[in-house]
Amino acid sequence: EAGVAQSPRYKIIEKRQSVAFWCNPISGHATLYWYQQILGQGPKLLIQFQNNGVVDDSQLPKDRFSAERLKGVDSTLKIQPAKLEDSAVYLCASSLNRDSRTYEQYFGPGTRLTVT
């Protein structure tokens, strides 16, 4: 079974530029998550999708971050404009279903963003 795919793996941009990350979840997984992980901290949930609808985006800085999940499969996370404090690893995860018997998130390798 293929895992969660993310691209790019690394990205370096200057502040005020824009950047986009792509995620392809495990086939059949209805729920998709984007996390931000700053060095030395645990992952912080940014947004959760159930199919193509947003379930929770309470911690997404909506003035600069946006995310979409068209057709309930792939997802993109965009930052525009980027700030220095956005430097982090952006992790995408998916799970089978919110009501599945075993709740388990499968994580991708992440995209390491450096804002200079």
């Binding site: 969660v4 998550y33 030395g40 901290q41 645990g42 992952p43 912080k44 949930l45 959760q48 379930v55 992790l91 995860a93 919110r98 009501d99 599945s100 018997r101 075993t102 709740y103 388990e104 998130q105 499968y106 994580f107 991708g108 390798p109 992440g110």
Partner: protein
């Protein structure tokens, strides 16, 4: 969301059993306890999940006392490859298990 408290770091020698305790005083009736493992430059990986008493799988055991205000992840006979950060999460089985905290950094020493 029920917050969790874990030791920041732990060291252990190879071959020993390691127990990592997580405190979750505000756990709710419907909450489950889940542990993830994260290696450098990788996303977290699910280890084990439980509700009460003891759960065991091929990787670890999870001990949960009757009051469920804490839980202990037990790793038998650790090896160098078990060096990682371990996160304890609390939330309902169907959702809201998203607070990772800072985790416990385990270093296995040869």
């Amino acid at each position: 969301l029920a917050k969790t408290t874990q030791p920041i770091s732990m060291d252990s020698y190879e071959g020993q059993e390691v127990n990592i305790t997580c405190s979750h005083n505000n756990i709710a009736t419907n909450d489950y306890i889940t542990w993830y493992q994260q290696f450098p430059s990788q996303g977290p990986r699910f280890i084990i999940q439980g509700y009460k008493t003891k759960v065991t799988n091929e990787v670890a055991s999870l001990f949960i006392p009757a009051d469920r205000k804490s839980s202990t992840l037990s790793l038998p006979r650790v090896s160098l490859s078990d060096t990682a950060v371990y996160y304890c999460l609390v939330g309902t089985r169907a959702g809201n298990q998203f607070y990772f905290g800072t985790g416990t950094s385990l270093t296995v020493i040869p």
